[in-house]
Amino acid sequence: MSIITLRESITQALREEMALDENVFIMGCDVGLRGNPFGITKGLMNEYGEKRVIDTPISEAAFTGLGVGAAIAGMRPLVEILYADWITLPMDNIVNTAAKTCYMFGGQANVPIVIRAPFGVGGGVAAQHSQNNENWFVHVPGLKVITPSTPYDMKGMLKSAIRDNGPVICFEHKRNYSMKGEVPDGEYLVPIGKAAIRKTGTDCTIVAYSYMTYVAEAAAIELEKEGISCEVIDLRSLLPLDYDTVMESIKKTSRVVVVTEAPLRGSIAGEIVGEIIDRGFDLLDAPPQRLGSKNSPVAYNEGLEAMCTPKKEDIIAAVRKTFE
């Protein structure tokens, strides 16, 4: 066991998988010499050479396309999009090639690519460096979408993603990079598609993912003091999504709040509420609550930026609402 940051957990996952499988390689802007802006791939180019840690030109559309094609040809590329906001650029080859090739080709080809994309609001970097677009990809059959939030999960799930024979998009919250946590010393995997219960509770279920899990935990701790016991679920994986765990929890609590950092409108929160209703309307003692960011681009100004995303207080209020 050692305690490392989420950032380091990614580096470990990459390093280990590259050592295990020579088909694994990394490409993206500044992933090589600079080791990515967050230092995540630092050292890997020295260890594995310029052909396995490839510094690309600013050509997101085509370098992701190259990754997709290399995957079809049998490699296991890890493509990095520096900010998830720009996943718009390679959108076509993600949605129309990576996600659909296995199907369109009648199973002749797999596309074992992992696309890593730092996402989320924070740091005063304005509207083109602050987005949460994960639900776009949840809406695309053929993809898997993961959002691990602890070093343990990140390492184990990223390794699972690299070994998965289909395309996986891994959204990493920039504000999580410095979070620390325990990671076993030996090899382990965390499966894609299983949620984690971060805190058990009996009165209300809070469903969250990525950075919002931490905010939800903070809210739950505060609510505990008032005698409201919340169960906090970290989805970890958005597609597939572990509704078994969600429904088990709701069976117990009869109440649910779903939290996302994405702008609420059109987000996955609605999807989750819809599924909860399908699977257990009768379990609910109160209308399910959704929380998301305000429906606005993210401002440069830090005050406006801070107003945008759900806060601990918002979650507390939403939980209270389920008791009205």
């Binding site: 396309g65 190259l66 296995c102 369109m104 009648g106 059959p141």
Partner: protein, 349 residues
């Protein structure tokens, strides 16, 4: 119009026109093989249109007719492990790579026995077992993935080569430019083949490009680039040979513009009302099968009888493929609806 007068005219108008000669290293047997492949393409495509009309084949279908020399001259020089990236006009590419026309016809019929199990159809035809990376319905979008297979060869240090096709239309997709730049920077073993038939559906390429020599784009990115007469199988063969050798030797990409002319409608039911098709009359005099046949007879490489037999043989194979697809293949079962969405049989509903 008289044959020879027409060709004199054409030489003036079709700036890519190049006299034919038999290049070094291309033996008789290989020429016969190429000629046969061209006929197989032609007969296949000619057969599909009536099947489309009869509603046996549906969706979009784009015939490769009169462009046969390009795929044939280039792809027949590849080995099985080499890769081919294709377009929406992909039947010819698949045939040249050694694909199975029964499976292709079955796919066009939407049958479970088809290459893509009926899921893909004409626009997504592929045969991964021979490195045919698949046609694509999004123009230009398949180029970067195809270059990705060259990236694989480069990373792994194999001598496999990738040939990627795109049209004059597809050349304008930004990711094609991006791909050329990366291929040049890293010296990837890839050959960019621009099938410039001068039209993208109803858009004459002259209206939407400032530089009519499309191969010059390759030069701008640092790629050795040149143009061929798209009707001249010998010239294309020789040009491709050098390009393939360079790629195999790790010397990087080549850009070959094969200039030709779209002589049919864009797809099955397009009658090209938006353009004057009479300009094509001349081109029919040098369409690649006729032209290669005439050259082989003139140069005593083959007799007219041999050539006729080849044509008839192609016809037979195509007829057999129709028979196979129509009577021996099956509609996909509804039970299989969720198959192939995910790898390894995983089902996520």
């Amino acid at each position: 119009m008289k044959d020879s007068k027409c060709i004199e005219e054409l030489k003036k108008e079709f700036d890519a026109y190049a006299e034919m000669y038999s290049p070094e290293g291309l033996d008789r047997e290989e020429q016969i093989r190429m000629y046969s492949i061209m006929w197989l393409m032609r007969k296949f495509e000619e057969a599909v249109k009536p099947l489309w009309m009869a509603n046996k084949v549906h969706g979009y279908y784009h015939p490769y007719i009169t462009e046969e020399a390009i795929a044939t001259a280039i792809i027949t020089q590849l080995k099985k492990e080499d890769y081919v990236g294709s377009t929406h006009r992909g039947h010819g590419h698949l045939i040249a790579k050694g694909g199975n026309i029964n499976k292709m016809m079955a796919e066009l019929f939407g049958k479970e026995e088809g290459y893509n199990k009926g899921r893909g159809g004409s626009m997504h035809i592929s045969d991964m077992s021979i490195g045919m990376l698949g046609a694509s319905g999004i123009v230009g979008a398949a180029v970067a993935p195809a270059v990705g297979s060259a990236l694989k060869s480069w990373i792994k240090g194999t001598d496999d080569v990738t040939v990627v096709f795109f049209g004059d239309g597809g050349a304008n997709a930004g990711s094609v430019s991006e791909s050329m730049n990366m291929a040049a920077a890293w010296k990837l073993p890839v050959i960019f083949v621009c099938e410039n038939n001068q039209w993208a559906i109803a858009t004459d390429y002259a209206r939407i490009t400032g530089e009519p020599d499309l191969y010059k784009r390759g030069i701008g990115f640092g790629i050795p680039s040149c143009r061929c007469d798209g009707y001249n199988i010998y010239q294309i063969w020789e040009t491709a040979k050098a390009a393939i050798e360079r790629a195999r030797a790790g010397e990087g990409p080549t850009f070959i513009e094969c200039k030709t002319m779209r002589m049919l409608g864009h797809h099955a039911t397009d009658d090209s009302w938006y353009r004057d098709m009479s300009v094509c009359d001349k081109y029919w005099e040098i369409e690649p099968i006729k032209r290669m046949g005439e050259f082989m007879v003139e140069n005593k490489i083959a007799t007219p009888a041999e050539l006729e037999a080849i044509e008839a043989e192609a016809m037979k194979k195509v007829e057999a493929s129709i028979e196979y697809a129509d009577t021996q293949c099956h509609e996909p079962s509804p039970d299989t609806f969720y198959d192939y969405i995910y790898a390894d049989g995983e089902v996520i509903k």
